[in-house]
Structure formats: C-alpha cells, structure tokens
C-alpha cells in the first residue's frame, strides 16, 4: 500500500514510522524547512519538502497512485483542502484527516472529509470513560459506517439489572458486545446475567441513545 502523509509533525512522523514497520510505502510532505531537515535525516527520500495544499506538490509526491492520504497538519483548513484535493482531484479512495480544533469537526463533516481523528475529542471520551459523568458514554464513532460504540452503566432497579444479555429488550440496530465488571471486560455471552454497576459496551446505529437509557439507566 502507498500512503502519503501530509504534515510531518509528531503525529505524521509516528504514523509514517508505524506504516513503514508494517511494510508499506510512505511519503511524508512537510512545508516547514527546519522540520523537513529533521524528517529528511530520518526518512531520507521519503521526506518531501513542500506545501501539501499545493496541487503540484501532491502530484510530485505521487498522489495519483496513492492508496491512502493522511492529512495531519496543524491547520484544519489545510487538512480539509488536502482531503478534498486528494479525493476529488487525484481520486484517492481513502482519506484520513486530523481535526485540531473540535469546533471545526462540523466543517469536515459538511465538506465530506472523513474519517477524522480529533485528539481533544479522544481525550474527552477517555475522561468520560474513566470518570463517567453520565451513564452513557460515546467511545467511538464509525461515521462512514454509521455506527456508534458506547458504554452504558447498568443502574440498580433498571430493566437490565438482573436480566440476562439475551433477555434484554434491545431495540433494532443495537447489540451488546461486552460487559465490564470489576474492571474485567468480557465479550458478552447470551447467558451473562447483568447486575447494577456493570458497564456494558453497545454497538448501535445512531439515535438509539434514549431507547438504550430506558433499558439500562432508568430505575
């Protein structure tokens, strides 16, 4: 697989290293001269100097034959343009973009640049996972697949408290995939009996939150 990474900061360089270890072909495009020099000493000819939002720079990097374009600069407007140019000008099938400011997520969504990764959002969902303020926490969104993975605490006296996994009145388009009890997670078994304090991980189509809360969180 040939991957072009635009933006050779910590994220871009580490993604590059990981892909190389997996045996893939990689180019890293970097616009800052001093950062480029550092990258070149490590990645040699795989580091390319230039503004990755310029079409000729991407062309020289071989974007037309790339399987993946990874837009991870520190500027969201740049990552959006890189994503649009890679997909619509060069026909790259897989585009992954970094969202630096979570307030810009809606622009990526509106302009069809997906999937995206946002460090702030990831950290917030980790905090929610570790220190839940709500009994339902979104762990991960598969935007393109239209699926959410979320964690829900089983509240005492709810319909789920004391029920078996296969006895739960789960709405269509939802599935319990694991149960976490006393910090040990297990893949959900149909016969597992749930108890208050358990955390269940559910995969669901969007918009099922309130139906799930009815089962797990309402006393």
């Amino acid at each position: 697989m040939y991957a072009i990474i635009v933006g050779g900061g910590k994220v871009g360089a580490n993604v590059g290293r990981a892909l190389l270890r997996m045996g893939h072909e990689v180019s890293i495009v970097e616009a800052r001269p001093s950062r480029f020099a550092t990258l070149e000493s490590e990645f040699e000819h795989m580091a390319r100097y230039g503004d990755g939002t310029e079409i000729f720079v991407l062309e020289a990097a071989g974007m037309a034959r790339a399987d993946v374009c990874i837009a991870v600069t520190g500027d969201d407007e740049d990552n959006i343009v890189i994503g649009q140019v890679a997909r619509d000008h060069f026909g790259v099938e897989n585009v992954v973009a970094r969202v630096n400011d979570p307030r810009n997520q809606e622009h990526f969504d509106l302009l069809g640049v997906a999937p995206t990764v946002c460090a702030t959002e990831s950290i917030l969902s980790l905090i929610e996972h570790e220190v839940p303020q709500h009994s339902l926490v979104h762990l991960f969104s598969l935007r393109r697949e239209n699926l959410d993975i979320m964690e829900i605490g089983v509240v005492a006296e709810s319909r789920a408290d004391g029920a078996t996994v296969d006895g739960l009145p789960m709405p269509r388009g939802t599935l319990v995939i694991s149960v976490l009890r006393n910090r040990v997670g297990r893949v959900a078994d149909p016969g597992t009996t749930l108890a208050a304090g358990d955390q269940v991980v559910v995969i669901a189509e969007p918009g099922q939150e309130s139906a799930l809360m009815e089962i797990f969180a309402r006393e």
């Binding site: 939002t53 407007e77 619509d88 307030r103 810009n104 809606e106 622009h107 509106l110």
Partner: protein, 141 residues
C-alpha cells in the same frame, strides 16, 4: 442586498467600501481588530473581530441572512473552506472567493465556487503586455 465580507485587508476593505457606496449593507469580519481602520471612521456596517472558521463568528456577522459572501482573507485554504461553509451550510446565494494559487483556484472553480485569482490575472496581464510589445516592436525586440 446584505453582504458579509471576510478579511479586511486591502482587497476586502475596498470591496466593502465599494458596496457601501453602491448603497448595500455590509458587515466585515477580520481576526485583527486594527483592520477596522482600513474601513474608515464613517463605515456604516458592523465589524466583527474573530476567526471566520468559527460559525459563531460567521453568525455574529449575520451570515444566516446574507445575500452574498466574500472570502478575502490572506489564506487560500481558509477562503475556500469558509466559502463552501457559506454555500453549503448557510445557503448563501452568491459566494465569491479569492484564491491566490491558480491551480487551487481552478480546482475549486470546477467544484462550483466563483473564484477570483489575482495571480492568474497578473500572469495574463503581464504576459499580454509583453506580447503586445513584442508584436509592435517586430522581430528585433
């Protein structure tokens, strides 16, 4: 009509002034508060200081009721992103975007944006003037 202009540099400020002189309502956005001076003390529209990628800033400038939108910051990528946001999210009827890089200007023009590319204009004018000179001066020049 009501127009929102983003970027109050030489271009944005003069476009805003020209529209006001024609009797239109114009609000201006720039991230730098000092840019307001370019509009002159008698500018009747509102000036909003902020980053135009933020929808709260666009909305404070009245984008939801805008008939036209001009993206003229000094960042090509900012301009093409906010122009698409104006068109696709706020359904602004007329969106005009300044793009300095001719290749990117052509790409976004193909995607339906009305782009103005000063670099392309300069290239055409300069090359045209030189061609005119070469034609009148004959083969010796």
């Amino acid at each position: 009509m009501f127009v929102v202009v983003v970027g109050c540099g030489r271009v944005g400020a003069q476009v805003a002034r020209a529209l006001v002189d024609d009797g239109h309502d114009v609000n201006v956005i720039d991230q730098n508060a000092e840019a307001l001076q370019r509009l002159g003390s008698d500018f009747p529209g509102e000036f909003v200081q902020g980053v135009a990628l933020e929808t709260t800033v666009l909305e404070a400038a009245g984008i939801e009721r805008a008939d036209a939108f001009v993206a003229a910051t000094n960042g090509d990528n900012t301009n093409v992103v906010i122009a698409q946001v104006a068109r696709d999210r706020y359904q602004v009827e007329c969106v005009i975007v300044r793009v300095l890089d001719p290749a990117r200007a052509r790409f976004y023009e193909e995607r339906g944006l009305v782009t103005v590319c000063p670099t392309r204009t300069a290239i055409d004018r300069m090359a045209g003037a030189l061609r005119d000179f070469a034609a009148t001066a004959g083969e010796g020049a």
